[in-house]
Structure formats: C-alpha cells, structure tokens
Amino acid sequence: MQLISAVWFSFFGAVYEHFSHEVYSYYMIYAFAIPLVMGAVPYSIMALKQYHPDRIFLHLWDSAIITFTVGSIFRGVLDIYGTTNSLLIVYPIAGLILTVLALLKLQRRPSTSDL
C-alpha cells in the first residue's frame, strides 16, 4: 500500500512540476520519499523478519505518514504559487505527535500476536 502511495505521489509531483512554468519545489518533488522511507521500506523489513506490529501502531504510523506527505505536497503547492501560510506548521507537528505515539505504542507492546 505504501509503495503504491509512493508511486502515486511521485507521479503527482512530476505532473504538477511539469505544469508549473519551471518553478520547482523540493517538497513537491520528494514528497513520494515519505511513504517510501517511512512506509514501504520498514514494512518490507518487518515482513521479511515476520514481525507484525499491532493494529494501533499501524494506524498511528500510517496517519503520521499521510500527514507528513500531505503537508509536503501542500508546502510544494504554496512554494510553486509563491505564497506562504503559517498554518502549514500544523502538518509536521501533527505528524511528529503521531510518530511519537506510534513509537511509544511499539515500545510498550512489541509482541507480534495482536493481528
């Protein structure tokens, strides 16, 4: 699922950049890396090691990934348009909180039996 997200965001970023009159944003171009690095890669490693984190961890972790990714895409849109919005800070803060909660959950329940 996260791999599909990464491919989708990569495609979306490329199309958006194509029509942006040579105005570029790293936030748009590399947004796909978030679901790839935080999702596809660790989940693949977990699958290889046959480690199955519990559902709550997955919900929190996936929410963090989508929050960071949407925040990155939106920052890219604003960069390309040439504007700013102070509310953008909400995305990384929410993403970080979800990441910390997910990691705490992982630490508290490292078992593989919850699924």
Partner: protein, 334 residues
C-alpha cells in the same frame, strides 16, 4: 468493527477538512486588514525642495533613451498613430502619444526591446518629485486575497503608467510601506526596496531598520520581494540565482534608478513562443545597460504587467494564455 479501527477514517476526515480549510485560507478567503488606503503621508516631502536642476532636466531631456549602450539594442517604438484616451488628452493637454507623456512634473518615454529572445518593455521616467511615484492596493484595501488587475487598479487611480508591485498579499511577512504609510512592519528574509522622498532608491537588509524607522528616514515606498539586481552600478545577483523556487526564464517586472527622480520600469514577456523570458541575471544585465545605479526585482511570472496611457502594453500570461491576472498592488506614476 473494533473501535480503534475507525481511527483512520476519523483522522482522514480531520486531515482532509484541515487541508481544505488551509487551501481556502491561502487562496480564497478574503481578509481586509485595512480599508480606505488612499491616505498619503506626504509630510516627508515638506523639507525637500525640488531642485531647479531636476526641473530643467525634465524640460530639456530628449525622448530617446539616455544610455549609450541602448543604441546597440534592437528596439522599436509602438505605433505612434494609435489613438490616445480622450480623458488623458483633456487632462494634460500636453505631449501625450502612445510612446511618451510629458507635463510639467512628469516625463515618460516607452521603448520596446527584443533581447535574449524576449520582448522587453522599458519606461524611462523623469519626475519633478518622487511624490509622483505612487502605489495603490487592489480595491484600495490592504488585506489578504484581495486582488484586481493591474490595469483596473491603474485606471481607478488615473495612472499614466503602472506596473504590478510586489504582490504583498501572498506573503505573511515583509515590510509594506506605501505612500509613506506603514501597513506591515514584520520583516522577512527578502531584500527591501526603499524609494525615498528625495528621489533616491536603495536596497536594504530589513535587519538594519524597522519599518517605522524607515519612514522616519524619509522612505516613501518599500517593497519586499527582490532580490536587488543592481547596487552601486554593480550586478548583485549570480548567474544561477532565482526568486524562491523559480528557475531560469520567466516574465519579469523590475524597477531601477538612473539618478534622483529618474527611474526605469522594466517588464518582460515570457512563457510564450515569441518570448522566452529572462533570468534574473539577464534582467540585471539589461538594466545595467540602461544605465541604472540601483535596480530591484518585483513580482514576475503571471503578474508581470505594464499599463500605459489606458492600455496594457505587454503580454501577461496566465495559465498558459495571454491574459492579465489579479495582483495585490501596483506602482504607478500619476
């Protein structure tokens, strides 16, 4: 369904709602911070006497560009037989054609160039006082997402010549000083262009002075876009430098000073088959050739518009077509 399995759905709704809100807040929702912005703080002009030298210069100056290097540029005037606006004729009763304007306080000459595969429009402006270099907000309102076309704002203020400004409305920070009044005093990282009441033009670092200090020093207009292109007759941008995330070639708007009360407005086309657009370095080189000692880049891209004598002179591009788009503010002569 387990209780916690609903979390992704709820969170997805919250994330979507927030993203819709921030999108509307950025691009759509209007927020008027201050209406009726036609006030002008002209007190700074009280101690400035108009020098006889400047007046004489305006009277005697030829309509041809002054820089020697311009003679080597490919240039052509617009059709001088084109109609002029009746209103302007009645009001000025002086030399008003499609390429130049002159009265006792203002002299403007418009010239068109073709360089770097780009059409460039240059207005050479000589004023008796910087008081005639004015600015205006869309709908005479200082705020967010309040826009109007450059030509509409210019027409509403009876401008002789106008260009788009720094589109302050897209930024949350950066000094906004217009007609001697401070509208925003939060600094950004951008260079600030100051136009002083004594007719000089200077690019400053906003860390040096507050907006209020600038006004007390006689700053009549201040813009926060940039970067500065030329300072002390030296190019101050690198060959690869660009505005924010913009890459090489784009439509551009810039303002420069040749000497006190003698300015250059430059607008270039771009993003069309006919005109590639300019890089910042090319723009700086071009302005230096015009003889400026100081030059500054204003908002470009789809915003780049030059209005003169009742009509839009350049070819503004918006979403791929030749169309003027709304901006927050303009700089005008009138």
């Amino acid at each position: 369904m387990k209780k916690h399995s609903l979390f992704p759905i709820y969170y997805g709704i919250v994330l979507t709602a927030f993203t819709v809100y921030i999108s509307l807040d950025t691009f759509v929702l209007r927020d008027a911070y201050q209406t009726d912005t036609v006030q002008m703080n002209t007190s700074m002009f009280e101690n400035i006497s108009v020098s006889a030298e400047t007046t004489e210069y305006i009277t005697e100056s030829e309509t041809e560009p002054t820089s020697e290097s311009q003679k080597h540029s490919k240039k052509h005037h617009r059709d001088e037989n084109a109609d002029t606006t009746e209103t302007a004729e009645e009001e000025t009763e002086l030399n008003l054609s499609d390429v130049s304007y002159q009265d006792e306080n203002i002299q403007i000459t418009l010239t068109e160039y073709y360089e770097n595969n780009t059409k460039i429009y240059v207005a050479d402006i000589q004023l008796k006082s910087a008081e005639y270099l004015k600015t205006a907000f869309a709908e005479d309102t200082y705020g967010k997402n309040i826009t109007a076309k450059t030509s509409s704002i210019a027409s509403a203020h009876n401008a002789i010549l106008a260009i788009n400004g720094d589109y302050y409305g897209t930024q949350e920070k950066g000094y906004v000083i217009r007609n001697g009044v401070v509208y925003r005093n939060t600094k950004s990282a951008n260079d600030v262009l100051c136009i002083y009441a004594d007719g000089t033009l200077k690019v400053i670092n906003p860390d040096e002075y507050t907006a209020e200090e600038l006004v007390s020093q006689g700053v009549w207009q201040a813009f926060s876009f940039g970067p500065g292109l030329v300072e002390n007759s030296q190019i101050t941008v690198t060959q690869n430098q660009e505005v924010g995330k913009a890459m090489a070639s784009n439509p551009r708007t810039a303002i420069g000073m040749i000497e006190k009360n003698h300015y250059i407005f430059v607008v270039s086309d771009g993003r069309t088959n006919e005109s590639e657009g300019l890089s910042l370095y090319q723009l700086a080189q071009f302005m230096l050739k015009l003889g400026v000692t100081t030059a500054y880049n204003l908002d470009g891209g789809g915003s780049s518009t030059m209005y003169f004598s009742g009509q839009v002179i350049n070819n503004p591009t918006t979403t791929g077509s030749i169309k003027e788009r709304g901006v927050s503010d303009i700089v005008y002569i009138g």
